[in-house]
Symmetry: C2
Subunit: 159 residues, 2 copies
Amino acid sequence: MDAPRWLSAEQLRAWIRLEAVVELLPAVLDSQLQRDAALTHFEYLVLAKLSESPDRVLRMTALAATTNSTLPRLSHVVSRLEARGYVERLPCPGDRRATNAHLTDAGWEKVVATAPGHVDTVRSHVIDLLTEEQVTQLDDIMAALLQKLDPENTLRVLP
Amino acid sequence: MDAPRWLSAEQLRAWIRLEAVVELLPAVLDSQLQRDAALTHFEYLVLAKLSESPDRVLRMTALAATTNSTLPRLSHVVSRLEARGYVERLPCPGDRRATNAHLTDAGWEKVVATAPGHVDTVRSHVIDLLTEEQVTQLDDIMAALLQKLDPENTLRVLP
DNA sequence: GGGGCATGGTTGTCCCGACAAGTGCTTAGG
DNA sequence: CCTAAGCACTTGTCGGGACAACCATGCCCC
């Protein structure tokens, strides 16, 4: 094996901190949503993405893509959300292999009720801690990382 | 409920990207380590932190702190690592409630063998994708977030 | 128009992490 | 002292996610 290019002190520090954030942030999001809405962060994400879609419908594959997820994982989650009445599965008219996930009225109201608290958490734990300039920097940096993590750019970020 | 302060388009974009990275990055780290060393990212972190400590020993509480973890979680992981011969538990001389985790020689060699591949992954998926300036920005931004996520600053970052 | 292959989704199993109790030690208070 | 409160873990149970195997439909193309 060839000698590994080690990290400089500066790089190491940035990495350790990113590591810590990546570890701790999901826990905060999950616990707030769990406490206030009995939802996983991922479950909330599914509902939220559906609520933003035309007719509140999305194909499973598309939904998996926008939520950075795999199909098996999504399928399980949709089953749970279906059991709670927030989502229903409909056959896709065009393609009989496909399934459409549809946000029910109850699901819509769940999102409406849950979103403010979630946004507050995001603000207080991320956005409000940064300057306007830092938000821009963060966006650029994450975009650079995503180019590697998600080359297909499945989650089409809004303009 | 009062009107939630919504996010601007810029802020939302940055948040969605950070969300995606936080979701996808752990999977990359885990799968590389799993494939090359049959270790979880968290297991590797435990071994790595021990390897950096004097005498390769750390109290469970201290180890939990530097790995951004909880004591129950750590206890389970140490049990697994102990079963594989990488770590051993020793009674703490000063306080008979406490337990010291000690990295064995086998554990040390495991870290030495595993570190280069891990560093390569960190480089290729994070550090090398950013300019020097961006690394500094990232460090500052993550430091700001950690002040909220981890007020005690348990993980004492090196100079 | 029928093999062969890709696509879209579901189901089943295993393992890791969260959470909640429980045990033994230590310290403080009267 | 001796009891009560607090600390440092450990253990047990439960739920969610990864992965692999599986079915069904669509597409090709000869």
